[in-house]
Point group: C2
């Protein structure tokens, strides 16, 4: 068989050849929506590559991006790796000291920065040791006042770029192509390097019916940021399959997302549950009924999706709500909660139960859930740590001693605690460090949270462990309500009674605190470590 | 990223882990249908591997199969490659001297042979130089009278096999896993070796919506033989995705296939156009209406599919009729005629035109259509030779000097003449050697054949070149009618008038011959070389 490498260039060439006419809709500000075709995209991407070549781009060199979801970021997604270099997608929400650390640690030489995010980079610029040029992306950029010396304007460079650039044909599939850093519980973020092979196989799998079934006729809006795990591979997959892309740009609101769904007839969108919670609120409060009939599926991941939310989208709006699971270390897709044929005859409530799990392991990926007795039984109850391996799973953190903690015996130890349902679906019950150990038994904080979030009064809920003299640890519920409760004591009693229907008495939280918000990580996950600290102060 | 190899073992383990309960329905004779689960399949496959280990199976060793589509053949499909050896799927329809050549050329050491096909092997056994054991597959096998000395019974061996066999975990993805021979125009068949990587990537792509969209809830009946290009990858894909398999076994008829579709609720079937022509006739003549409502798509390939056939299945029976294109050298899937979104607004007749082409090139595969001026324009008219490259395309014929004819500059030169439609779809117009060159211009025999086959009276039609003193070559139509024509001259005039509606005058065949049948290759393709010989004698 031919030794044809699995490289992103093949995706790019496919779009350039077959999908010239297909559109990319790119919102770059509140007043600007660009409409390009894939033909425009191809020309601009090759121009960007020519520009970067002029900056001395070498194979393996790291180029940082610091940007929202828009067409220029998409151009970087291909121009950099298809030239043999590595796109480091920098998370714009990190604290300054973490930004400084990861840009220096990755040794980024050029940064592609959104104009509205430039002040953040200017603030830390003198601390950046390897960056030798900053290119500013935006519609109408003026860098004359910038404190950064080697600064350039993306569109000006593209205007002057040569038009006869062609990508090299000799890339090796195991070459690094992209990298992202993932926040650690303690210490600096840890880097994950993606290869052409891993990105191609991962993106290809998004076209499988068993995963997202992504296809040419889809109109895809990735709400998940392009600075977060390759926007779950969607930009790569859309280019390969020729799907229309709707890129929501900076500072979007639920209203803006709904406007885009309505106007562009979006069929598939993907993001964290918080996005869908906000969208549901917007849908409910909207005076003019919203038309989201084009939407056939939402993909939700990053943290657990409340059943009430899933049910509302599925039953009220006819949208298939797919829960996915993955990590920065896994590119990210590991599993998706599609229904299997045996569920066809199930009641909706049982199907909802399956839908809300992290789902079925996708092709080419292996998962194990292991406790002290080995692989856990498929009983939906016995907890163990989730382990993963496969061709788009990392085998190390980039130049990081913490590699040894997570990568052992050829497996990634996720630190996530899970059970396996009788259908083989994965259900995450907790992080190893968030599990509550009461009287020698484990209590799943995620199960309690999900149950609380099905209560009408509750917007969000996080359950954490608090130290207990007798039981070692006990659960404490932290709840954000839709409206300020009139009577906190009454609502607390109500919520505990509500939980009592489904859980053993010893699982019930010892207390319920009503908070204004739950602290979250830069990618929208509950920041339980911070919550615990805050609560400890409170106690 | 982890260096996880793309090996068939991962497909096997996936079925063994997640699809234990899913069925395999295997027809092994007119009176026997086996019903197994994937759990049974997994146990039996590992037993077969243990048996073969007992026969001294080594990595890279060639094991021949000589069998219909049934569960035992499926077991060999995995037991052999997952052990690191190579399954040579021998085409049961080859002439004895070709069988002798390919078994000796591949150096098959063990043959797995169906009991009803054993006489063919007995006939040639003394000529086979490397075979040291024959294992006979069947339900009730008696080999006591066989002339072959080292002969064994599959089910007896399985009964005695150890049950603790596990497949090795250290296979390399570039190891050979399977091989098939393809008939040559002249000389012996040419061998193509598939690797684990090529078979895995190819089979995975069958799960893409853009290809067949194969999925767990599918009930798949591969009519295409398992001795022909891996049954188009379906057995591998079904095992990976957990689809139910319906294997139609030996000597099936259109009636038997329809019975299986009805009783097993088949959703997807695949085979050559002749199969679907026969099935359509059976559907039409059936007195009790047949229920094929479960069927959502038929895949047709191997030769051109008449538009009338496609239309009948789509309009009358609501079955999506997908035309695919591929070769033994390409594993085989290169392109599929799925509708793109731009066709949604088209009239059915225009869609039918797209449907009947060889379709859109699938992900990871590159196609070019080249004539003396380079890449042909996308005008649906300009012909050129189709060239293909990609990770499941061969780069040589196995130990064969004819490699240099077809594999050059990293591309497979198919010898097929094609045009590209404005949508980028491939449409095969001829084989290089079947093109008709009249007065310096090319005439496509396939276009004429397809047009003839849309005429109500015509069952099959082949158009060939005959020498002509002035024009060099002229087309001659060879037609098989549904019923013996009452007046051949009248029908001939009718057919020529029918063609005249769509073709330039100089394209019209000089004559129409009415034949009882058109000679076909062992895989159902028109054997034009033989037809030309017969016609020459006739002339």
């Amino acid at each position: 068989m031919m030794d044809t490498p699995l490289v992103l260039t093949s995706f790019f060439k496919r779009a350039e050849t077959y999908f010239k006419h297909k559109p990319i809709i790119s919102r770059t500000s509140d007043t600007m929506i660009h409409r390009l075709t894939y033909a425009d995209f191809a020309v601009r991407t090759k121009k960007l590559a020519a520009v970067l070549e002029g900056f001395g781009l070498q194979r393996g060199m790291k180029i940082g991006s610091f940007a929202w979801n828009h067409h220029r970021h998409l151009e970087a997604y291909f121009a950099v790796p298809c030239s043999g270099a590595v796109l480091h997608m920098v998370n714009i929400r990190l604290a300054p000291e973490h930004l400084i650390y990861i840009i220096n640690h990755a040794k980024d030489e050029i940064l592609l920065v959104d104009d509205d995010l430039l002040p953040i980079i200017e603030e830390i610029y003198t601390e950046l040791k390897t960056v030798r040029a900053v290119i500013v992306m935006g519609d109408d950029v003026d860098v004359s006042q910038s404190t950064i010396p080697n600064i350039f304007v993306y569109e000006d460079l593209l205007k002057e770029a040569r038009t006869d650039f062609e990508f090299p044909e000799d890339l090796d599939e195991k070459m690094p192509a992209g990298m992202c850093y993932t926040s650690a519980t303690t210490g600096f973020p840890k880097g994950v390097v993606y290869t052409h092979r891993s990105l191609v196989l991962h993106a290809l799998s998004l076209g499988l019916v068993e995963t997202f079934g992504l296809q040419e006729r889809d109109i895809v809006m990735p709400v998940v940021p392009m600075f977060h795990v390759n926007a779950w591979g969607l930009p790569f997959a859309c280019v390969n399959f020729g799907a229309t892309q709707v890129l929501p740009g900076p500072h979007f609101t639920p209203k803006i997302l709904l406007d885009l769904i309505e106007s562009e007839r979006v069929t598939l969108s993907a993001g964290v549950p918080t996005i869908w919670l906000g969208m549901m609120q917007e849908l409910e409060k909207s005076e003019v009924p919203r038309d989201i009939a084009s939407l056939t599926r939402l993909v939700s991941g990053g943290s657990s999706s409340p059943k009430g939310l899933i049910k509302a989208f599925e039953q009220k709006y006819g949208v298939n709500f797919l829960v996915g699971y993955g990590m920065t270390e896994t590119s990210p897709i590991v599993s998706v909660s599609n229904y299997s044929s045996e569920m066809d005859e199930w009641d909706y409530e049982d199907k909802l139960e399956a839908r809300s799990t992290q789902g079925m392991t996708v092709s080419l990926i292996e998962t194990r859930i292991i406790n002290e007795n080995g692989e856990v039984p498929w009983d939906g109850k016995t907890m163990g740590e989730l382990m993963i391996r496969g061709p788009w799973v990392a085998d190390e953190y980039y130049e990081d001693e913490r590699t040894a903690d997570a990568f052992r015996d050829g497996w990634l130890y996720t630190g996530d605690i899970a059970v396996r349902t009788p259908q083989g679906y994965i259900k995450i019950t907790d992080r190893t460090k968030d599990l509550i150990k009461s009287g020698g038994e484990w209590i799943s904080s995620v199960d309690l949270e999900n149950a609380l979030m099905t209560h009408d009064a509750v917007f969000e809920a996080a359950v954490i462990a608090v130290p207990h003299p007798k039981w070692q640890e006990r659960p404490l519920a932290c709840v954000v309500t839709h409206e300020k409760p009139a009577d906190e004591a009454a609502l607390k009693a109500q919520l505990l009674a509500y939980l009592e229907q489904d859980f053993a008495k010893w699982w019930l939280p010892d207390d319920v605190l009503f908070l204004d918000e739950i602290p979250k990580t830069s990618v929208g996950k509950f920041l339980k470590a911070k919550l615990r600290d805050e609560i400890n102060e409170y106690i």
